[in-house]
């Protein structure tokens, strides 16, 4: 049976059958110039067992993910269709609301306790024109912490932030070419001003 995938290019959303594998969905989107983004389903991306990684379905990722935080499947999930003991539930396909608790957050991470996820509408992004990795090192942890605080207020959209030994960090910046260049330039300046050293490569 064909699994449903529908794209809404105007709203940049994809609605997909929950039985679809994540890698299948991502491949389908990439053929059309889109992506799920930073893949907040990173628990599955980090899965060492290749087979398990490749077999992760959208349902599994949502039912075992968390609704909040940057690791959360909830971060990119706009709405869900669920088969519950009360019948079929279709949470509203709207960007934001104030209509009681956000019920999709209750179903995400519930391990199927309150119902089976049948399909999900997810936010998608255009494939980035450019992706760069920023690496830097400081002598003292206090200076790297100051940089982190400044980074949080800077407007730079970073992802995959990693820290080593409290004095070295790396993060990725991706998006439109011109914007990425501006963000990298700003990041370099901030690193220099905070007493850090930009690491090439």
């Amino acid at each position: 049976m064909r699994k449903r995938i529908e794209i809404d290019a105007v709203s940049q959303l994809v609605t997909a059958d929950a039985n679809l594998r994540l890698d299948q969905l991502e491949a389908w989107l990439r053929k059309r110039g889109y992506s799920l983004g930073r893949l907040p389903f990173r628990n599955w991306q980090r899965q060492r067992h290749r087979q398990l990684r490749q077999q992760a379905t959208l349902r599994k990722a949502l039912e075992t993910g968390s609704a909040g935080g940057t690791d959360g499947a909830g971060e990119i999930c706009l709405s869900l269709e669920i088969e519950s003991p009360h019948g079929r539930i279709q949470t509203k396909r709207v960007p934001g609301s104030a209509t009681g608790p956000d019920f999709k957050k209750i179903f995400i991470g519930s391990h199927g306790r309150y119902g089976k996820i049948l399909s999900a509408t997810l936010r998608i992004v255009r494939l980035p024109e450019r992706r760069l990795t920023v690496k830097a090192r400081w002598v003292q942890p206090v200076k790297s912490r100051k940089f982190l605080k400044r980074l949080a207020a800077s407007g730079i959209r970073c992802s995959s932030l990693q820290f080593q030994d409290r004095v070295a960090l790396s993060f990725q910046i991706e998006g439109m070419k011109g914007l990425v260049a501006a963000e990298v330039k700003t990041a370099k300046r901030m690193i220099r001003q905070s007493g850090g050293k930009w690491i090439d490569g």
Binding site: G68, V94, G96
Partner: protein, 501 residues
């Protein structure tokens, strides 16, 4: 009275049952209540008002109330506009404003998309006071609703509010990490804790947005941000609304993350232009020069004049803003301007944005003046994904302008959609008719919104005002909501009569 005596044992002199205090807490800012009171309808009064100072005191009050089946209504600033704190069946108003401490700031904690910081605060703190305390330490919550001067953190969380910079910082539910609450039977749920009857659901996911129907939120931990070093604002005008909406969508989908995005429809743009372009022009502003009687006559038949105004070649004004490092936000602003120019826009400079920034809170405080002059005013906030947004705007405008003058702007933009904020100003000449027309206007708007796939509330909440339509909004989730309510509040004492529960 037994209730008063028991609460005095818990709270001392922080309880009141006198007529003045009871009258003060008979309402929030819902327009319908104002109209009914002006028409001489008697107010709904609570039995008494109390001011707890700790989570433990709230627990004692709720234990007593649930045992004696006394309704309890949590109350913050009373700035809600959906009747969320109306004491429909009397009971105890739990005014939380004495719980107003900021308890500490922590961070940075490192996450995938950068460092973040948190603040823990009691939920009775006024929004502006919280923001002031954070600013002193070099931080911001990033939450700036127009009610910031008279709304509390608890009220924000109860209603799932949105601030004017939500496009950058998110809604309140995106900011809250964890909370402490008291359930109907007095059980305290601490940070990191779980509710015994629903152990697999995070309390924060249940209680945020529940408008006090499932428990009382007493403290919260929220993400905060270092104050940005620089801000920039820009105004751009478009000849046609569809082109302006497309440009707005493209800005959001380019990954630009502006802090502010506000697109005014043609009529709202026309009125705004007189406000900021020139003080002399402002004094010639139609509402100042046209006599009051003429405007009121016009509002008796609002549809035709607005259809005619809609034929005028009036520009739409888009305001956007960025916060962050000065050189970066200059580049982001340029990228946004380039997107707008591709849709044939005229650069109006920084002035429109700066004017909005200066007056963004004062507009709400002009409403009482209009009520005094015999008008009624209300706001309707809906939202939809981009594919449904223009039909939603057109459909709602068409129905609302049959009843009142309609101004509208698009704000709280997301990559996948946007909210529409309608302001309606009406006049019928009769106080009873004002009440009737107001109810018809809301009925028409809610029915049309549901039909066109929008949400009936983006950030004002449901209360009593929209309760009738919540089952259709939630669909299959409504029975689930009712089941949760039965589990957590079997006696039905928590804010009864709200949200269709």
């Amino acid at each position: 009275m037994k209730l008063l005596k028991h609460l005095e044992k818990i709270l001392g002199d922080r309880v009141a049952a006198d007529p003045v205090n009871r009258a003060l807490y008979c309402r929030d800012m819902m327009t319908g209540t104002t109209l009914e009171l002006k028409a001489g309808h008697p107010p709904l009064l609570p039995d008494l008002v109390c001011w707890p100072e700790t989570t433990e005191e709230i627990s004692e009050i709720l234990k007593f109330a649930s045992h004696h089946l006394v309704p309890v209504i949590p109350f913050g600033g009373g700035s809600g506009v959906s009747g969320g704190t109306l004491p429909l069946t009397g009971g105890i108003i739990l005014d939380l404003k004495k719980m107003n401490r900021v308890e500490g700031i922590k961070g940075p904690a490192r996450r995938d998309n950068g460092a973040f910081f948190t603040v823990t605060a009691q939920c009775g703190i006024l929004g502006q006071h919280l923001e002031d305390r954070l600013n002193e330490q070099g931080f911001t919550l990033g939450h700036f609703p127009s009610s910031i001067l008279c709304a509390t953190l608890g009220g924000y969380l109860a209603a799932r509010s949105a601030g004017q910079l939500s496009s950058r910082y998110g809604k309140i539910e995106d900011m809250v990490e964890d909370l402490e609450a008291v359930l109907a039977d007095g059980t305290m749920v601490r940070f990191g804790g779980r509710i015994k009857k629903l152990p697999h659901i995070r309390p924060v996911d249940l209680l945020v947005g529940a408008e006090g129907t499932l428990g009382v939120i007493s403290r919260a931990r929220l993400k905060i941000h270092p104050s940005p070093p620089a801000v920039r604002y820009r105004g751009v005008t478009f000849a046609k609304l569809p082109a302006a909406l497309t440009a707005t969508r493209e800005i959001m989908q380019a990954g630009l993350r502006p802090s502010v995005v506000r697109l005014y429809d043609p009529l709202d743009s026309l009125l705004l232009q007189y406000g900021y372009e020139d003080k002399k022009k402002a004094s010639k502003f139609p509402f100042k020069t046209i006599k009051d009687n003429f405007l009121k006559t016009l509002l008796l038949y609002p549809d035709l004049p607005q259809r005619l105004l809609g034929l005028l070649p009036t520009d739409c004004l888009l305001i956007f803003g960025f916060v962050g490092e000065a050189d970066l936000i200059e580049a982001q602003e340029k990228a946004a301007l380039d997107i707008c120019r591709r849709r044939i826009a005229r650069d109006a400079g920084a002035e429109p944005g700066l004017h909005w920034l200066k007056h963004r809170y004062s507009i709400s405080f002009k409403m009482p003046e209009l009520f005094e002059q015999g008008y009624f005013v209300d706001t309707i906030e809906v939202a939809a994904t981009w594919d449904r947004l223009l039909p939603l705007y057109t459909g709602l405008r068409r129905i609302l302008q049959k009843f009142a003058l309609v101004l509208a702007h698009f704000s709280h933009a997301y990559p996948e959609g946007c909210s529409i904020y309608f302001t309606v100003i009406g006049h019928t000449g009769s106080k009873e008719k004002d009440c009737r027309i107001w109810r018809q206007l809301w009925r028409g708007a809610m029915e049309r919104c549901l039909k066109l796939g929008g949400t009936i509330s983006h950030h004002h909440g449901i209360g009593v005002l929209k309760a009738e339509w919540l089952p259709r909004e939630l669909g299959g989730a409504m029975p689930f909501f009712k089941e949760i309510k039965k589990k957590l509040d079997p006696a039905g004492i928590m804010n009864p009569g709200k949200m269709g529960l």
